[in-house]
Amino acid sequence: MTADRNPPFRLLVVDDEPIVGKRLQQVFSKMGLEVEVFTSAMPALTAMAERPFDVVVTDLKMEGMDGMEVLARVKRSNPETRVIIITGYAEQETAKAAFNQGVFDFIAKPFRLDDLKRVIERALSAESADEQGRPD
């Protein structure tokens, strides 16, 4: 997997369901990613401001700030970061709006772990491709 690199890829997970963060941390840490987990958007954005992440997985509907807002802010501050939105209730319009704002993918809950893994892998390989293609 593309995760074997130094420094490791950084993954941020924001979901107000604590179990999501817990499990994703378990899975992706084991895969060699550096994973940070938050249950609300504000501290996650603070963490992002300190050091950018390669991939952000965010829930859409959260108290305080929702996933669309997270997406917008990430794209503003760090356009390179791939944002993946996961949501319990996917409306076509929300998905369309998210793609317009540059979301990498939009996944409806419940999803299988493999699906998410594949999307994150794709995001990371795109990231590496960008990096490789980038002139020094």
Partner: protein, 543 residues
């Protein structure tokens, strides 16, 4: 210790009698309440064999009989008038004949006097001529039936003999060879006889006139009697007709008013109504209509409920998909790493799976409980506090998704009302969802319940834009909505449900604080009527 309303049968009866006279809110599939609502079988007018046209119970026959009676009275009066008129005509004819007789006699007497004064025999001949006229008049009188009926009729033979005598005397005087002495005697006799005759006829005339006048008065009296009795009969008939026709209508009108106040569910067959076929039919038809309306109302409530469920789809989807997702993730991680995980971690993960499964189950349970069309007529003791908490669980995620903070201020003690939990919850769901929708960019929903003067007051306050003054009167109207995707049923159905529970919904907007409050007021069960906690009906524990 058991209070009278604890047994199910009692409750049902109580409910039917008082609150949910609205079985108005029974759903189409529900069985009829046990209390017999109709005391007599419904008459289906079109299937009845042979309409009893003159049934004494029908308004129609009563009208016909009354009109026939009035017609008969009128006919009688007219007939009597005609008979009287024809009698009068005869009497007038009689009076004319008397007049004629008088005239003839007076002429005769005039010539008699002339003869007596001047001794002209020509006058005697004229007198005799006129006497013929008198005799003819007598003949006419004799032939007159009306005259035959008068008591003066008995005077006629005497007068005729008087007349004959008078004629004989006149005849004697025509003989010129009478000696002067004899002549004088005869003249005296003639004078006397003439005078007697005139007197007798005058007397007959007077007596006859008097008799006729008496008869005329009698006719007038009879006519007056008919008039008075017709008026009296008219008054009596009018009185009864009004009672027969207006009485039942009045009873129906009163029943309709009671139905509107929720004191009755069907129009009872009042005693004033039972005596009239049309009225019983009308009551039956109206009750059929009420039944149909009730069915429609139930369908409306169910539609409104489905619409409300439609509005919570997003929340429900979240509420089910999130735990499902958690279960997937946990199970997959568990499967992948089963051998590497510590026993403690495995235990925790299995525990997570169970908790999340419970969570999903709870949501489905609440949703089903809400959407299930429970028997509307079922009424039980409902703790509003508990019901509000459960409603908040059902809508928890919808509220969370709307970025809405909830402040709840619910009493620790229960607020028991008698009613239908399912329908009351529908009301709470409608009001809360409206509040959530009103605050589309987030806000605060305050939920406060308290007891005041034997009533439960539940305030749902939101910080949305409020209800504009100009539509406030309409918001409880059916199909009135300001939302493009609204049905306009939520509040109207809520209102009718609360009214059926003898409560009220009041809307208050506070411009200063920018809040809108829907206050639901429901009568609490009286303290004496409250069940001890251990005797609370089992049905409420299904929540």
């Amino acid at each position: 210790m058991r209070n009278p309303l604890t047994s199910k049968g009692d409750l049902t009866e109580f409910w039917n009698k008082t609150c949910m006279t609205h079985d108005f809110f029974r759903r189409p599939g529900d069985e009829k309440p046990q209390t017999k609502r109709r005391t007599r079988p419904r008459a289906a007018p079109d299937t009845r064999t042979g309409f009893d046209f003159f049934s004494p119970k029908s308004i129609r026959s009563k009208l016909i009989i009354s009109l026939l009676f009035i017609f008969f009275l009128g006919y009688l009066a007219t007939l009597l008038a005609l008979v009287s008129l024809s009698h009068m005509q005869h009497k007038i004819g009689l009076i004319e004949q008397f007049y004629e007789l008088n005239q003839e006699l007076l002429e005769t007497r005039r010539y008699e006097k002339n003869f007596l004064l001047y001794g002209n025999s020509q006058d005697l001949t004229s007198a005799l001529d006129y006497l013929e006229g008198v005799r003819a008049s007598f003949g006419k009188l004799r032939a007159n039936h009306s005259f035959a009926n008068l008591d003066v009729h008995s005077m006629l033979p005497e007068q005729e003999s008087g007349l004959k005598e008078y004629a004989a005397l006149l005849q004697q005087l025509t003989h010129p060879q009478l000696d002067p002495k004899q002549l004088e005697i005869t003249k005296d006799n003639l004078r006397q006889q003439g005078h007697d005759l005139t007197q007798s006829i005058l007397e007959m005339d007077t007596r006859a006139r008097r008799t006729i006048e008496k008869q005329v008065r009698r006719y007038r009296d009879v006519a007056l009697l008919i008039l008075v009795s017709a008026s009296a009969f008219g008054a009596v008939i009018s009185f009864f007709l009004i009672r027969w026709i207006i009485g039942p209508l009045q009873s129906i009108r009163e029943a309709a008013a009671k139905i509107m106040r929720g004191e009755l569910s069907t129009i009872p067959l009042a005693s004033s109504c039972r005596s009239s076929l049309e009225c019983t039919e009308l009551v039956d038809s109206l009750n059929l209509m009420l039944d149909a309306l009730e069915t429609k109302q139930n369908q409306l409530i169910q539609s409104a409920k489905l619409a409300a469920i439609g509005r919570v789809t997003a929340g429900i989807a979240h509420e089910i998909n999130n735990p499902l997702n958690n279960i997937y993730l946990t199970a997959e991680v568990l499967l992948e790493d089963l051998s590497n995980l510590e026993a403690e971690d495995r235990q925790e993960m299995v525990h997570d799976i169970l908790t999340q499964a419970d969570r999903a189950r709870e949501v489905v349970h609440h949703l089903l409980d809400f959407s299930r069309s429970r028997k509307a007529a079922v009424q039980e003791e409902v703790d509003l506090v508990k019901l509000l908490r459960e409603t908040m669980v059902l809508l928890r995620n919808q509220i969370r998704l709307g970025q809405i903070h909830v402040h709840t201020d619910l009493p620790a003690a229960p607020l028991p009302v008698t009613g239908n939990a399912n329908q009351l919850q529908q009301v709470f769901v409608n009001i809360i969802l409206n509040a959530v929708q009103a605050m589309d960019s987030g806000g605060i929903l305050s939920l406060q319940a308290r007891e005041e003067d034997g009533k439960a007051l539940i305030d749902f306050t939101d910080t949305g834009p409020g209800v504009p003054e100009e539509i406030r009167a309409q918001i409880f109207d059916p199909f009135f909505t300001t939302k493009s995707d609204g049905t306009g049923l939520g509040l109207s159905v809520s209102f009718s449900i609360i009214r059926a529970h003898k409560g009220d919904i009041v809307l208050a907007s506070d411009r200063k604080t920018g809040t809108t409050t829907f206050r639901v007021i429901l009568p609490l069960q009286s303290y004496e009527g409250r069940l001890p906690p251990e005797m609370a009906p089992a049905s409420s524990s299904t929540w």
